[in-house]
């Protein structure tokens, strides 16, 4: 373990960039803003690379720790802000800073004409800071800082064009839904603190990962509850069932944001967290099984929705939800390296797809409906080619990055002994076929056939946008070789025994088979635009298609109905309990009682002096009689 305070520079540089652009951005030229915004992330990436070489050079045994400062110290908590740069966080840091840098560069072109240019880069830099805190933080509370920080940036960026109420609402929906998950995360922290307090009342705790690991024995009896509470947090952040519904709406933000936050980095935080706390999940087969199950079901569920979407970004959004499900399946069956591996490759090809989509939208002057596209292959050649490569990668063409990582997950699920793992494998296999289908459906509709009327005037994007696309496409191709080839990722991330080739052959072949089938169906139905068969099918199965397009009405129930119920409850409580019961009935009753007594007393006070005198005289007489009676 090496102490290295320089580690703080990695997250703090983007923070400095954010502060700089927030304070001075409005008065500076766009070039300066862009230079600072991209520059700080670029330097952070370079620093991460240097640190990574340090870690990897030591073959994964050297861990950098940045000594921090005491943060929350009270009772038996002594929480420190400290950074940890080990194998897992080094991979994550590289992905985050690397992809962020590319997307920052892309954004310079994409947002070139936006009035909120400086504000955009402020938010984006702030996001990188929060994400790095999430990844590098050495304890659950510090991870939570990043965890909520990225949620905030996501909120700000989804609602970036705040003048559109729908977009602002989408941001709010994302933040609140995330908060539901965060409540679970917090309760898990509290639970751990409680268990620790019972186990060792005299000690104080920092809740760092090392400490959790060292006290795993104390946590073991409670592992299921804690792991599931933490997973609630992951469900919220990583858009799994039943809290997935904010992610499709989050596409209201600028497209580079969708690529960075809602595909490559933030939404994968849940996967990172489960992998980071793998030792805890390993203690509870039930919790692991739940993780895997939720992942598999979400993967399939989202894929069935993606097949009918008509908005290019929505297709990719549901694809992201689906791929995140794959990752959770991976970490659920305790193949943590496979999950993280898929997280990385997914960051490459999904960022490429989103940026490609952004380029297409840019070319179509803001149009996102794929039914109005078509034949764009010749219009935006560089975008189309990179999009094609990324589609191949996600669909699982052998030897591309997506194939390698997805195969590892399927393989792990196939061989897992967890309860229900076989079923999850089957579900995931079907999802793999659906993935190939909906991705090629998207690709064929957008890029093949004759250019539609709207697509006539499409033009290729500037180099600042296409260069990141090409880099990401290249990474989508070779990303799979990165770790198995250059570095044994399984060993790097501490995996025990990679299965032998003959054992992994059956799941691999099955995956290839369904992938090919998916591609073939898509080719038949959508090459050159929707074929008559496709349209006939859509009419014949209209109810199903509508239900799929409407997300099987889950969003209606959870994303729209529940908030409304909460609002109405609040309103009813206000009018009925606060106003009617307490103010009108109880307080009004009390004051009416006082008023009534006053009224009675007022009857005597009628202002007639002689009535007073009569009362007075009678009173005197009564008193006299009374006293005289007493005397005698």
């Amino acid at each position: 373990m090496r102490s290295n305070a320089l580690l703080f520079a990695i997250p703090l540089l983007p923070l400095a960039g954010a502060v700089w652009n927030a304070v001075f951005g409005r008065r500076l030229a766009r070039e300066t803003v862009a230079f600072v915004g991209c520059g700080v992330v670029g330097i952070a990436f370079a620093l991460a690379l240097v640190a990574f070489v340090g870690v990897a050079g030591g073959r994964g045994d050297v861990v950098h720790v940045a000594p921090g400062f005491s943060w929350i110290v009270a009772g038996n908590f002594a929480i420190e802000v400290r950074l940890l740069f080990d194998n897992l966080s080094s991979v994550m840091t590289l992905v985050v800073t690397g992809v962020s840098f590319l997307i920052h560069v892309y954004s310079v072109g994409y947002m070139a004409h936006d009035a909120g240019f400086a504000r955009y880069f402020t938010y984006l830099n702030l996001f990188v800071f929060a994400m790095l805190m999430l990844v590098l933080g050495d304890s659950l509370p510090v991870m939570f800082v990043g965890w909520e920080g990225v949620g905030l940036c996501s909120y700000l960026l989804i609602g970036f064009w705040f003048e559109d109420d729908a977009k602002a609402s989408a941001g709010k929906k994302a933040f609140i839904t995330n908060r539901v998950g965060d409540a679970g995360f917090l309760l898990a922290i509290f639970y751990i603190g409680w268990v620790f307090a019972q186990a060792a009342p005299d000690r104080s705790f920092s809740l760092s990962y090392g400490e959790l690991k060292a006290n795993a024995a104390a946590l073991a009896p409670h592992a299921t509850v804690i792991a599931l509470l933490l997973f609630v947090g992951a469900i919220g952040k990583s858009a799994q069932l039943p809290l997935y519904f904010w992610l499709p709406d989050a596409m209201a933000g600028p497209t580079p944001v969708s690529a960075l936050i809602h595909a490559a980095t933030m939404v994968t935080a849940g996967v990172y967290m489960v992998a980071r706390l793998g030792f805890l999940y390993a203690l509870s087969p039930v919790a692991s099984s739940v993780v895997a199950g939720v992942g598999a079901v979400t993967a399939f569920f989202a894929a069935t929705i993606a097949v009918t979407q008509t908005d290019i970004k929505k297709v990719l959004a549901f694809s992201t939800v689906s791929q995140l499900g794959f990752m959770f399946l991976g970490v659920g069956v305790m193949a943590y390296s496979a999950g993280i591996f898929h997280l990385m490759t997914h960051a490459f090809f999904k960022a490429c797809l989103f940026l490609g989509a952004g380029s297409v939208i840019h070319a179509m002057s803001g149009e996102q409906d794929i039914r109005k596209m078509g034949g764009l292959w010749s219009k935006v050649p560089r975008t189309a080619k990179t999009f094609f490569v990324a589609t191949l990668a996600i669909a699982g063409l052998p030897f591309l990055s997506g194939w390698v990582s997805k195969d590892e997950i399927l393989d792990a699920a196939f061989h897992s002994t967890l309860p229900g793992a076989k079923i999850f494998f089957g579900v995931a296999l079907a999802t793999a076929g659906l993935t190939a289908f909906y991705m090629f459906r998207l690709f064929f509709i957008v890029f093949t056939g004759k250019p539609s009327h709207e697509a006539e005037h499409a033009h290729e994007s500037p180099p600042s946008m296409t260069v990141p696309l090409i880099v990401l496409a290249a990474l989508s191709v070779v990303g799979g070789g990165f770790f198995p080839g250059l570095l044994p990722i399984g060993k790097f991330l501490g995996e025990a025994h990679p299965p032998s080739f003959s054992e992994s052959l059956p799941p691999m072949l099955m995956a290839l088979g369904v992938g090919a089938a998916g591609f073939f169906v898509a080719y038949k139905l959508y090459w050159g635009g929707p074929s008559p068969t496709a349209l006939r099918l859509a009419t014949a199965w209209e109810k199903v298609a509508t239900a799929s397009r409407e997300q099987w009405y889950v969003d209606h129930a959870l994303g729209r109905f529940v908030p409304r119920v909460v609002m109405v409850t609040g309103f009813m409580l206000w009018r009925l309990v606060d106003f009617f019961l307490i103010d009108v009935v109880i307080l009004g009753g009390a004051s009416a009682f006082a008023h009534g007594i006053g009224h009675l007393a007022r009857l005597a006070q009628n202002g007639q002096v002689q009535r007073y005198a009569t009362t007075f005289i009678i009173g005197i007489a009564v008193l006299l009689l009374f006293f005289l009676r007493c005397r005698s």
Partner: protein, 579 residues
């Protein structure tokens, strides 16, 4: 006899607190001499007075160094009304001191804010503010029930005028409601004070004397505790005696709302902390489950109602109900983390809700409307206000890295680990829902005002003026400072909090058997004698935890001869195993 009064009396007097408390009163008296229409001079003078008070309170922070075995400093004790046993007795511990500084910080801010907001009867407004400040400071420093009661009532009068004279359209209703609620509580409190006076046999209102005695019989604690609890619960306010708050908050002028939310509500919590719970520990512990339940109900209920509001100020008012629910939950959990969090959250709430009310005031000053539907798109029109509002909203929604998070995190984590309340984990879970709802209503308010298309009613608002930046800036800086480096604040709060929890637990006659492990964490060296770990060693001053509270010098002479007192709990076998 009370064993520690002589030691206490030997403590050196410090006049600083009296200076602090009476400076605003002197300032107010001098203000009366000013000609009514010299508004500029009057404003300037009031500001200077409040700044001097702030400076004095900063001196207090710097010089706060309680002697070993005590958490109090700057004590002043003068025989005042020996006939009734009332003593002019002031002193602050860490919690009171931080609330004192909160008060002295918020007062100049609201005076500065009033420069443009109050144009009618300026002199009277400033006098009210200064008298109010004196009342708050006095109540916070008081260590005698009569002195506390006097200052408690002193706060009421200027607040009544602030609401009733400078308030909104329904100001008379709101002012009368406020006074009636508070006075109803005060009357009960007065009776409870008299009950204690006679029942303890102390014939004194001095907290030092009362705490020096053993707590009265548990069965007899209920009456005074309920009376105190009701008086303080009204002030907090806890559901269901909270309905004065939305009206008072909404109708009060900005400065009134800020002070009301920032400090006055804390007086209720502080009353529990300083008087009700230590004086009636058994009743307090027996009532803790009910109070915790009410607090959690308040958290959720306040948040739900805040969500339903159409009036920005009312929304903030109901958010106070929710936030103070957290604070009360932390206090009654009687766990060091939770109580520390509650103490910190009192400050946080004062800062962030104060800032929210200031922002509402800024907007109201420009638009003369509080209705959410009259706003929209201000992020474009007034970006500086929007940014300030955003930061304040995030602080109030307890975003990590901001002050609110530290408080809520400690409260909830502490109450989760609390041992005195059945099913506290479930209650904490419900309270955590309040965190979600908190984000919801704040973001709803933010979206309605700042996002969306620009409402033409507000299309030409002017952005922040330099003076407005000046008074918002300290609050914003403190949000981040406390959020990132809460250490200096926590380290001042925690020793006092530990004394408080020890006081409630050790004075309680219900032996701590019901709460295994509860005394374990109380063994802070500066607070109580080492906990009775093993019976073989002689236990120094076994049941003197309470007296030690106000004692400057530990009294070792007392200890060795004393056998272990029956009320000290022998260590439970479970605790032994764990070690």
């Amino acid at each position: 006899m009370n064993p520690f009064t002589p030691a206490y009396l030997s403590a050196p007097n410090s006049p600083l607190l009296s200076v602090l408390v009476f400076l605003p009163l002197i300032g107010a008296a001098l203000l009366m001499l000013f000609p009514r229409n010299e508004t500029r001079t009057i404003r300037g003078f009031a500001l200077v007075v409040s700044l001097i008070v702030l400076a004095v309170s900063l001196v207090l922070i710097v010089r706060y160094a309680p002697a070993a075995g005590s958490v109090f400093a700057f004590k002043q004790r003068i025989d005042w009304l020996p006939v009734v046993g009332a003593v002019y007795h002031l002193g602050v511990d860490g919690v009171a001191l931080s609330l004192v500084v909160l008060t002295t910080l918020l007062t100049p801010i609201v005076i500065l804010a009033a420069f443009s907001q109050i144009t009618d009867r300026v002199r009277e407004y400033m006098i009210s503010m200064l008298v109010l400040e004196a009342g708050m400071l006095g109540a916070l420093c008081a260590l005698d029930l009569v002195v506390f009661f006097i200052f408690w009532e002193l706060m009421l009068v200027p607040m009544y005028f602030l609401i009733g004279v400078w308030g909104g359209d329904r100001r008379h209703y709101a002012a009368v409601k406020f006074v009636l609620f508070t006075v109803a509580g005060s009357v009960l409190m007065l009776l409870a004070m008299l009950y204690l006076y006679f029942e303890t046999g102390a014939r004194s209102f001095d907290l030092a004397v009362l705490l020096g005695k053993d707590a009265i019989a548990p069965g007899k604690q209920w009456l005074p505790f309920l009376a105190f609890a009701l008086a303080f619960a009204i002030k907090v306010p806890m559901v269901p005696v909270h309905t004065w708050l939305p009206d008072a908050h909404t109708e009060a002028p900005t400065g009134g709302s800020v002070i009301l939310a920032g400090v006055l509500l804390k007086m209720g919590v502080y009353g529990f902390y300083r008087f009700a719970m230590p004086l009636m520990p058994d009743a307090a512990r027996a009532a803790a489950p009910a109070l915790a339940a009410l607090a959690v109900v308040g958290v959720v209920y306040g948040a739900l109602l805040a969500m339903a509001q159409r009036d920005l100020k009312k929304l903030v008012a109901y958010s106070s109900v929710s936030h103070l629910g957290f604070v009360m939950l932390g206090l009654v959990a009687l766990e060091p983390k939770a109580v520390t969090g509650a103490a910190l959250q009192m400050i946080n709430h004062g800062l962030s809700t104060g800032a929210l009310f200031l922002i509402v005031g800024l907007l109201y000053e420009r638009t003369h409307t509080r209705k959410l539907s009259d706003y929209g798109g201000l992020f474009k029109v007034t970006p500086a206000i929007a940014v300030v509002f955003l930061i304040t909203v995030l602080s109030s929604a307890a975003l990590p890295g901001m002050n609110g998070f530290v408080g809520e995190f400690l409260i909830l984590s502490g109450s989760f680990a609390s041992t005195g309340i059945p099913a506290i984990q479930a209650w904490t879970g419900v309270a955590t829902i309040g965190v979600v709802l908190g984000a919801a209503y704040l973001l709803i308010a933010y979206q309605r005002t700042m996002f969306g298309p620009v409402n033409e009613k507000v299309a030409s608002l002017r952005d922040l003026a330099p003076r407005e930046i000046v008074y918002m800036a300290p609050l914003l800086v403190l949000f981040f400072a406390i959020g990132v480096f809460p250490r200096p604040v926590l380290s001042r709060l925690e020793p006092s909090v530990k004394v408080f929890t020890a006081l409630v637990e050790k004075r309680s006659r219900i032996v701590a058997a019901a709460t295994p492990g509860s005394t374990v964490r109380l063994g802070a060296p500066s607070v109580v004698p080492p906990r009775p770990t093993l019976q073989v060693q002689p236990i120094p001053t076994p049941n003197l935890a309470a007296p030690n509270l106000l004692q400057r010098v530990p009294r070792p002479t007392f200890a060795p001869a004393q056998p272990p007192s029956p009320i000290t709990r022998p260590p439970s076998p479970k605790a032994e195993e764990r070690r």
